[in-house]
Amino acid sequence: MSTLEIKDLHVSIDTEQGSKEILKGVSLTINTGEIHAIMGPNGSGKSTLASTIAGHPRYTVDSGSITLDGEDVLAMSVDERARAGLFLAMQYPVEVPGVTMTNFLRTAKTALDGEAPSLRHWTKDVKEAMSQLRIDADFAQRNVNEGFSGGEKKRVEILQLELFKPKFAIMDETDSGLDVDALKVVSEGHNRVHADGAMGTLLITHYTRILRYIKPNFVHVFVDGKIAEEGGPELADRLEEEGYDRYLTAAKA
């Protein structure tokens, strides 16, 4: 069993007006097999948390810690974090010119495992995962995310989740912009990996819709760079009815 532990995390970014604090003391512990939903309004800092865990250079950690089984994640480079078992399904996956999906997936798998995957099995795995996620086979020959629709990009993120089998998956608004069919396909993809029992999930979302397909054990309400309330799945139902207004008035006051 693994544990990803975030303690009193303070994060800021450089803006034209100087440094701006975005995360104002976030603490969160996720164990293997658990699904934590982070819900919050736009601009509350959800992506900041996700990107900071992955090590995006834009974010400066002012204080606090992130550890994976006791190892200092903040001391690791971006690729080291991935190799340690952290995976971020991005809210806005970038288009990478000149690199085909096939080449990219194989290169990443090789880097993550420290050795090249057996070609025969790998090709089969990729094909199977693509067809389960209803990704057209010819996407394999296209450049990474280049010209993919929003929904296709999200499916390709989950494709990687299935192929790379991380210890912890952070899904940053994977549900945003998906129609119901795509939402189901993507959720099933996550649930297949989850069923193996070797992964913990941090599911970031703005809406409760995805929680019908991916059942969280814990729900954290994120407002203004902090966790405003925590609870079980029932908290999501309350948010569904009441929205975030209650928290927003409190934050402003």
């Binding site: 992955a54 250079p57 690729d79 970038v94």
Partner: protein, 427 residues
């Protein structure tokens, strides 16, 4: 055809403000004026309106260097070139030893059966078959060369293996060179011009793709670091002929390749691909011209370049001219650059001039992308180390051109060369 001094002008003004029909009252209203020539009308698609010289149709061509005047660097076609680094190719006598020319099959193998290689004098009838020099440096080489190499693919020959023309420089004396490639009717062949060694050379390559022929010419510039190379590669594409031109420019201090392709019969098809990789201090320039002078021809242009290092400079200019006669033209040109480090500069200028509305299609694109932190983050977030990520992107970016060559041994060699370029830049 030796000492020809005529100037070929197509509606070109000899002096600013004049057309062959008379004086323009004002360049700005030239297009609307009754006296405006063809060149003036085309400007709406090309460079600045009312600057007749900017039309490719009006560009001076001549066999005499002096007709072009001394270069100042302000000329439209020289404005990006550091003239000092031409070492006098533009001004001095080109009397030094030219690079040697060796023609064989691939990798020195026997020449494919039927291919004829000749060394001929200036008066050979095939010289001048593809065009008239389009700039001073090319004209200077035309005036200076003593003998030319002519490679002929005989009519209807379908070559199974390629023809390798190895051009190897051994000195940096100013020199001139002339090569003619003739693909006779209905022949099919791949010819590789393989430039290496040290040289300061102005070169004219003439390519005659006769009716129904299918010719691929790959020009590889893998010169030593001190080489200076100006290469005019003019092609005439005959009726229903197919021509593929691929330039690969990796080595040399200053390399300036100007491929011009003219359709002379209907139904012609031209593809022009190019790849360049500029390191610190290198100046690599490619100026294309596709002249749609007849109806129902198709052209596709794609050049891709990568740049890394301080003062790496690349220039790409793509002139596509669709003349009034060229109804049914289908044309597209694109240039894509990938800047890998700060301090490198990629200039990219597509010029599309269309003189008839009756075309299938015409388009152009130019992008200069930076391999940026977001690309790098995405790849690294999947466990890929930084150096591997950069190489993955560059290799992938340029592979699209390499795979056009379709000569496996050469593709392999060029892939290996690119690996070395990447390593040299510590990428």
């Amino acid at each position: 055809m030796t000492e020809i001094t005529e100037k070929a002008r197509i509606g070109a003004p000899a002096i600013d403000g004049f057309t062959e029909e008379g004086e323009n009252l004002s360049p700005l209203n030239a297009a609307a004026g009754p006296l405006a020539g063809a060149s003036a009308k085309s400007h709406s698609h090309g460079g600045g309106v009312g600057v007749p010289d900017s039309s490719r149709a009006g560009r001076l061509t001549s066999y005499k260097a002096d007709d072009f005047g001394q270069l100042t660097g302000r000329e439209e076609d020289w404005r990006f070139t550091p003239l000092k680094r031409l070492r006098g190719l533009q001004s001095d006598a080109l009397v030094g030893t030219a690079p040697t020319v060796t023609v064989s099959g691939p990798e020195g193998a026997e020449l494919p059966a039927g291919v004829v290689v000749e060394t001929v004098g200036r008066d050979d009838a095939r010289i001048g078959v593809a065009g008239i020099p389009e700039d001073r440096v090319s004209a200077a080489a035309w005036e200076a060369f003593k003998e030319a190499t002519v490679v002929t693919i005989p009519a209807e020959a379908q070559l199974e293996t390629g023809v390798a023309v190895v051009i190897e420089g051994t000195s940096t004396e100013l020199s001139a060179q002339h090569v003619v490639i003739v693909a006779e009717k209905f022949s099919k062949a791949v010819v590789v011009l393989d430039h290496k060694g040290s040289a300061t050379v102005s070169q004219n390559v003439e390519i005659d793709v006769q009716d129904g022929a299918d010719l691929t010419v790959v020009s590889v510039q893998e010169w030593a670091d001190d080489a200076v190379h100006a290469s005019s590669q003019q092609t005439r594409v005959g009726r229903d002929a197919k021509f593929k031109h691929v330039t690969v420019t990796l080595g040399g201090d200053l390399v300036r390749v100007t491929p011009s392709t003219r359709f002379t019969g209907t139904g012609g098809d031209a593809e022009m691909f190019g790849l360049y990789f500029a390191d610190a201090g290198q100046h690599l320039e490619h100026r294309l011209f596709v002249d749609h002078a007849v109806a129902n021809c198709k052209s596709r242009v794609l050049y891709k370049g990568a740049l890394q290092g301080k003062n790496a400079h690349t220039v790409w200019v793509g002139d596509v001219l669709i003349r009034k006669e060229a109804e049914g033209t289908d044309s597209y040109e694109a240039n894509r650059n990938l800047v890998l480090t700060d301090g490198a500069r990629a200039d990219s200028v597509p010029n599309l001039e269309i003189e008839t509305g009756l075309i299938e299609g015409a388009g152009h694109a130019s992008t200069t992308g930076r391999f940026d932190d977001e690309h790098l983050f995405y790849l690294m977030a999947r466990g890929i180390p930084e150096d591997v990520a950069r190489r993955l992107v560059v290799r992938g970016f340029l592979h699209e051109i390499i795979q056009q060559i379709r000569v496996p041994a050469l593709e392999e060699r060029l892939n290996a060369s690119l690996e070395r370029e990447l390593e040299a830049g510590n990428l």
